[in-house]
C-alpha cells in the first residue's frame, strides 16, 4: 500500500507541475490586467493537439513540433486578446462579462478543434523512450523528469524575465499600477497582448509536457482550466510560485483521492479543495490569513 501511495504521490507531483504551469498562466494575465482568462485551458488542449498533428501529419520531429505548438498557441493568445478581450477592456466591461466572453472563446476554440481534428483522442510519444528508473520500489518514468524539469526551467526563465528584462519589469509595473505605468510611457495595451501570448505559451508548454503520459482531446480544455485555476487559488491568486505549489498540492491530493476513494472522486476532490480554500483561506497556502 505504501508503495502505491508513494507512486501516486510521484504522479501527483508530475501532474501538479502541469497544473502549476496552467495556474501561472492565469496569474500572468491576472497580474497584468485583473482579468481571469477562462480560455486558458483551451491552449493546454491545443498545445497537445497541434504538436500531435505536426508530428503525425507533417512528420515534423517531436522537439520542433512541440516548439511549433507553443509558438502557434502564443500567437493565438495574442489574437484572443485582440479580438475578444481588447474590445471589452476598452469598454471597461464588468467582471461577469469578461468571464462570459473568455468562456465563450473557450467554447469556440473547443468546437473548432472538434471540427478540424475530430473527436478522437490524440497522443504524443514519450520524450525519452526508455524503461522507467527505479528508486527503491518507486518507478520514475523519464517523462516525469521531463515534466518536473521542464516546469522548473519554465519558471526559472519566467522569473528571470520578470526580474531582469525591461519588458518583464514593465509588465510588473502594469500589475502594480496600470495608470502610473502608462504615465511612465509603458505601452500598457501591448503589455496586455504580451501577457496573453505568454500565458498561452505556458499553457501550450504544459499541454505538450503532459500529453505523452495521458492523451489530449478537444474537450479537455475546461478540466485543465479548472485544475489550473484551483492551483492558482490554492497558491493565493496572482502569485506564480504559489500557483506552482498549489498545483503540486492539488495533484498530490487528487492522486491520493484516487488511491483511497476511487477515480470517481478525482474531480470532486479537486473542486472540494477549491471550495475549502475559497471559504476558509482565500489568500491561499502562501498568503497571510485574513
Amino acid at each position: 500500500m505504501l508503495d502505491l501511495v508513494m507512486q501516486a504521490i510521484a504522479s501527483g507531483v508530475a501532474i501538479g507541475c502541469v497544473y502549476g504551469l496552467i495556474g501561472i498562466g492565469f496569474c500572468v494575465i491576472y497580474n497584468a490586467s485583473g482579468i481571469v482568462n477562462f480560455a486558458q485551458g483551451a491552449f493546454v488542449m491545443l498545445g497537445g493537439m497541434v504538436a500531435s498533428a505536426a508530428l503525425k501529419s507533417y512528420g515534423i520531429p517531436l522537439p520542433l513540433a512541440g516548439i511549433l505548438a507553443i509558438v502557434i498557441c502564443a500567437g493565438l493568445g495574442v489574437v484572443l486578446e485582440r479580438i475578444v478581450v481588447r474590445p471589452l477592456w476598452d469598454r471597461q466591461s464588468a467582471t461577469f462579462v469578461m468571464i462570459l466572453a473568455t468562456l465563450a472563446a473557450q467554447t469556440v476554440i473547443e468546437r473548432l478543434t472538434l471540427i478540424v481534428a475530430g473527436d478522437q483522442p490524440k497522443s504524443l510519444p514519450m520524450f525519452t523512450d526508455r524503461p522507467p528508473l527505479h528508486v527503491g520500489t518507486l518507478a520514475i518514468s523519464f517523462q516525469f523528469l521531463w515534466i518536473v524539469g521542464g516546469s522548473a526551467l519554465a519558471i526559472a526563465l519566467l522569473a528571470l524575465f520578470f526580474s531582469s528584462t525591461k519588458t518583464g519589469k514593465a509588465m510588473r509595473a502594469c500589475a502594480i499600477d496600470r495608470d502610473a505605468a502608462a504615465l511612465q510611457g509603458i505601452p500598457v495595451s501591448r503589455m496586455l497582448a504580451l501577457a496573453f501570448g505568454l500565458s498561452a505559451a505556458l499553457g501550450a508548454f504544459a499541454g505538450v509536457l503532459i500529453t505523452p503520459t495521458q492523451y489530449t482531446a478537444f474537450n479537455l480544455g475546461v478540466p485543465f482550466a479548472i485544475s489550473g485555476f484551483i492551483a492558482a487559488i490554492v497558491g493565493g491568486f496572482g502569485r506564480p510560485l504559489g500557483a506552482l505549489a498549489g498545483g503540486i498540492f492539488l495533484g498530490v491530493v487528487q492522486a491520493l483521492a484516487i488511491v483511497y476513494l476511487g477515480s470517481a472522486f478525482k474531480n470532486i476532490a479537486a473542486l472540494s479543495i477549491l471550495l475549502l480554500f475559497l471559504f476558509i483561506r482565500p489568500t491561499g497556502l502562501l498568503g497571510s490569513a485574513k
Binding site: L100, A104, V222, N267, I268, L271, S272, L274, L278
Partner: protein, 605 residues
C-alpha cells in the same frame, strides 16, 4: 406563428418591468396558450417551445440573483439537477406520483441552497464565480458517478408527465400550455418581487452593499434570500424538464445549461437596468435563436414593440399634475417643527452619542487616539480637521463599519461598539458617505423608498401578493415623495439615480437617509463638490432637519458652511481631539488656528 412569437416577446417586456399589471398578464398568457393550442401540433417546434418555456423559468430565477441582487452564479444548474433527479428517481425508480416527488425535490433544493449559500455568498467577484462553478461541476460529477441512483451517463428514462391521478397532462400541447402558464406565473412573481420592498433591497445591495447596510438592510440575509428564490426557480425548471421530456441524464445539467442561461441574460442586458430590458430581451432573443424558420419579421415586430414600450414607461408622467410650491412646504415644515425644540431644552442638553476614549490603530499608524466626544440630542455638531486627521475613520467606527482597537461608543444608553452597521441603523443612527453611494439601478424615488426599509415590513409573501402591502406601499410612496419635495428633487423622481447631476446626488443621499427617520444623522462631507448656491441650499436643509428634531453630526471641510450651521464643533488633528466648543470658541483657540483654521482662513481670504 409570427404573431405568437411577438406576443411572447412583448409579454416579457411588459412583465419584467416595474409597471406590470397582473390582469394584462393573465390576458396575454391566456391568448398565447390559446394560439399555441390551435397552431402548434407537435414535432420539433413543440419541443423547442417547451424547452423555451422551461428556460424562461430558469433565467427568470437567475435574473433575481444576478440581475436584481447583482451577484454571480455559475452553479444554478446544480439546483436544477437536484430537483430534476429527485423527480426522476422518485417517480421512475420508486413509483411516486410526480407532484409529491417534485415537491420533495424543491424542498431539497431549498435546503441545498441554504447550506451552500451560507458560506458561498460571503465571496465576491471572481471568487464567487469560481465557487459557484465548482458547485455546478460537483453536481454534474455526482450525477455521473452515483450510478446506483442516477444510472450515470445512461440517464433515467420513463419519467411520467406531471399531474395528479386522472388529471395527468399527457398530450404535448397540454404540457406546453401548462409550462407556459407556470412560466408566466414565474415571470409575474419576479416582477412582483422587483416592485416590492424585498426587490428594492436586492437592487440596493447590487448598487452598494455599504449604503444598503447603512440603511439597516441585512445584506447577508437578503443575498441568501435572493439565492434561495433563484434556486427555487432553477429547481422548478429542473423538475418540469424531466417530467416534460420524460428523460434525464447528467448532460442536461452540464455547464452548457448555465452558459446558455448567461447568454440569454447578457444579451438581455444585465448591465443596463435591473429587471426591465434584461429579461424581455433574453426572452425575445431566445425565440429568435430557437425558432429559426420564419422568425425574422416577428423579431422586428417584437423589437419595435419593446422600443415603444420603453418610451412609454420612461416618458413624462403627465397624470401626476404640478407639485405645490416647495418653498411653502419647507417653511411649513420648519414652523411645525420649531416648537418642540424650545419645549425640550432640557432634553437637548443630554447627549445622544458618546465616544469614550476611542482608539484605532492600522498596523503602526494611529488613526484615532483616545477620542472622547459627546453629541447632544438636538442640533448640529461638526467635526473638522485637516485631511488625514481621522474623521472618516471616526465615522466608520461610530456607524459600525469599523471597530475601535480600544474604547467604547454609546448611542443613547446603549454600547454599540462593534455592532454591525445594519443593527446600528436600526437603533436610529444613519450615515451618508464621503463618496456618494446611491443605488444606481433604482430611480430617485425608489432610492428614497429603500430608506424606508427599517420602518416597513414584508418579504416574499407581500412581494407575491402585493395587495397585502398596499397601504404600506402607499405610505412609503407618500413619505418618499414628501422627502423629495423637501430636498427639491421632485422633478427627478422617476429618473435613474445614476443620471442625476452631482449636487443632486448628494441631496438624494441625504433624503434617503432621512427616510430612515434617524435620531442621529451622520453626514460625511455633504458639501464636497457643491457650488456656492447648492451649499446655501444644503445649509437651509440641514437647519430644517435639525429643527425637526434630528440631531446631525457632520464632517465638513467647507468652513463657511460649518461656521454657518454648526452649534458645536470638535476639531480633530492627527487622531486627537484638540478642541471643542461653539464656533466662536473654536475660532479663537490657538491650537486650532495653528493646526487648521489658520491655513483655511488664509485660503478663504
Amino acid at each position: 406563428m409570427n404573431s405568437l412569437i411577438s406576443i411572447w416577446a412583448k409579454r416579457g417586456s411588459i412583465w419584467a418591468g416595474r409597471g406590470g399589471n397582473p390582469a394584462l398578464l393573465a390576458v396575454w398568457s391566456l391568448a398565447a396558450a390559446l394560439v399555441i393550442y390551435v397552431l402548434i401540433r407537435g414535432g420539433y417546434l413543440m419541443t423547442v417551445m417547451q424547452i423555451a418555456a422551461i428556460y424562461t423559468i430558469f433565467v427568470t430565477g437567475l435574473n433575481i440573483f444576478m440581475g436584481y441582487a447583482g451577484q454571480v452564479s455559475f452553479g444554478h444548474s446544480a439546483f436544477a439537477a437536484v430537483s430534476g433527479y429527485a423527480s426522476a428517481v422518485l417517480t421512475a425508480t420508486y413509483g411516486w406520483e410526480p407532484l409529491p416527488a417534485a415537491t420533495l425535490g424543491l424542498a431539497g433544493v431549498l435546503a441545498c441552497a441554504l447550506i451552500i449559500g451560507y458560506p458561498t455568498l460571503r465571496l465576491r467577484g471572481h471568487y464567487l464565480a469560481m465557487a459557484t462553478l465548482a458547485i455546478g461541476l460537483i453536481a454534474y460529477d455526482v450525477a455521473v458517478e452515483w450510478g446506483s441512483v442516477t444510472q450515470g451517463y445512461m440517464g433515467i428514462s420513463g419519467i411520467p408527465p406531471l399531474g395528479i391521478g386522472r388529471f395527468t397532462v399527457t398530450s404535448d400541447r397540454g404540457v406546453l400550455v401548462l409550462l407556459i402558464v407556470i412560466a408566466a406565473l414565474g415571470v409575474l412573481a419576479a416582477a412582483g418581487i422587483r416592485r416590492s420592498r424585498l426587490g428594492r433591497a436586492f437592487v440596493a445591495i447590487a448598487g452598494s452593499e455599504n449604503a444598503a447596510r447603512a440603511l439597516g438592510i441585512d445584506v447577508a440575509h437578503y443575498k441568501l434570500s435572493a439565492f434561495m428564490i433563484s434556486a427555487f426557480y432553477a429547481g422548478l425548471a429542473g423538475s418540469l424538464f424531466v417530467h416534460a421530456v420524460g428523460f434525464v441524464s447528467p448532460e442536461v445539467f452540464g455547464l452548457h445549461m448555465v452558459v446558455l442561461a448567461f447568454t440569454m441574460l447578457y444579451i438581455g442586458g444585465i448591465g443596463t437596468f435591473a429587471g426591465r430590458p434584461r429579461l424581455h430581451h433574453a426572452l425575445y432573443r431566445r425565440h429568435r435563436h430557437l425558432c429559426r424558420p420564419g422568425a425574422r419579421r416577428a423579431d422586428r415586430d417584437a423589437a419595435a414593440g419593446d422600443i415603444s414600450h420603453l418610451q412609454r414607461i420612461s416618458g413624462p408622467r403627465l397624470w401626476r399634475g404640478s407639485d405645490p410650491d416647495p418653498d411653502l412646504c419647507a417653511r411649513r415644515h420648519c414652523v411645525a417643527a420649531e416648537t418642540p425644540v424650545v419645549a425640550s431644552a432640557q432634553e437637548a442638553s443630554m447627549s445622544i452619542l458618546r465616544l469614550d476614549n476611542v482608539t484605532r490603530r492600522f498596523g503602526g499608524l494611529v488613526a484615532l487616539e483616545n477620542v472622547s466626544l459627546e453629541v447632544p440630542r438636538r442640533g448640529i455638531t461638526a467635526i473638522i480637521g485637516p485631511n488625514g486627521a481621522g474623521k472618516t475613520t471616526l465615522f466608520n467606527i461610530i456607524s459600525g463599519f469599523n471597530t475601535p482597537t480600544a474604547g467604547n461608543v454609546f448611542f443613547g444608553d446603549e454600547n454599540i461598539t462593534g455592532v454591525a452597521p445594519e443593527r446600528i441603523a436600526k437603533r436610529g443612527l444613519v450615515r451618508t458617505f464621503q463618496l456618494v453611494q446611491l443605488f444606481d439601478d433604482l430611480t430617485v424615488l425608489e432610492n428614497v423608498k429603500v430608506g424606508r426599509h427599517l420602518h416597513t415590513r414584508g418579504g416574499l409573501l407581500t412581494a407575491l401578493i402585493p395587495n397585502l402591502a398596499i397601504w404600506q406601499e402607499a405610505a412609503v410612496e407618500s413619505a418618499a415623495r414628501a422627502l423629495l419635495q423637501q430636498t427639491g428633487l421632485t422633478d427627478s423622481a422617476d429618473i435613474l439615480a445614476s443620471a442625476l447631476p452631482y449636487g443632486q446626488k448628494r441631496l438624494l443621499e441625504i433624503a434617503r437617509a432621512l427616510a430612515a427617520e434617524p435620531k442621529l444623522l451622520l453626514l460625511d462631507e455633504p458639501a464636497a463638490g457643491l457650488n456656492r448656491e447648492e451649499t446655501q441650499r444644503l445649509a437651509n436643509l440641514l437647519r430644517q432637519i435639525a429643527a425637526s428634531g434630528t440631531a446631525i453630526l457632520l464632517i465638513e471641510h467647507d468652513m463657511s458652511l460649518v461656521m454657518n450651521v454648526a452649534e458645536r464643533i470638535a476639531v480633530l488633528d492627527f487622531g486627537r481631539v484638540i478642541a471643542s466648543g461653539t464656533p466662536a470658541e473654536v475660532r479663537q483657540n490657538p491650537d486650532v488656528i495653528a493646526a487648521y483654521l489658520g491655513q483655511a482662513e488664509a485660503a478663504l481670504a
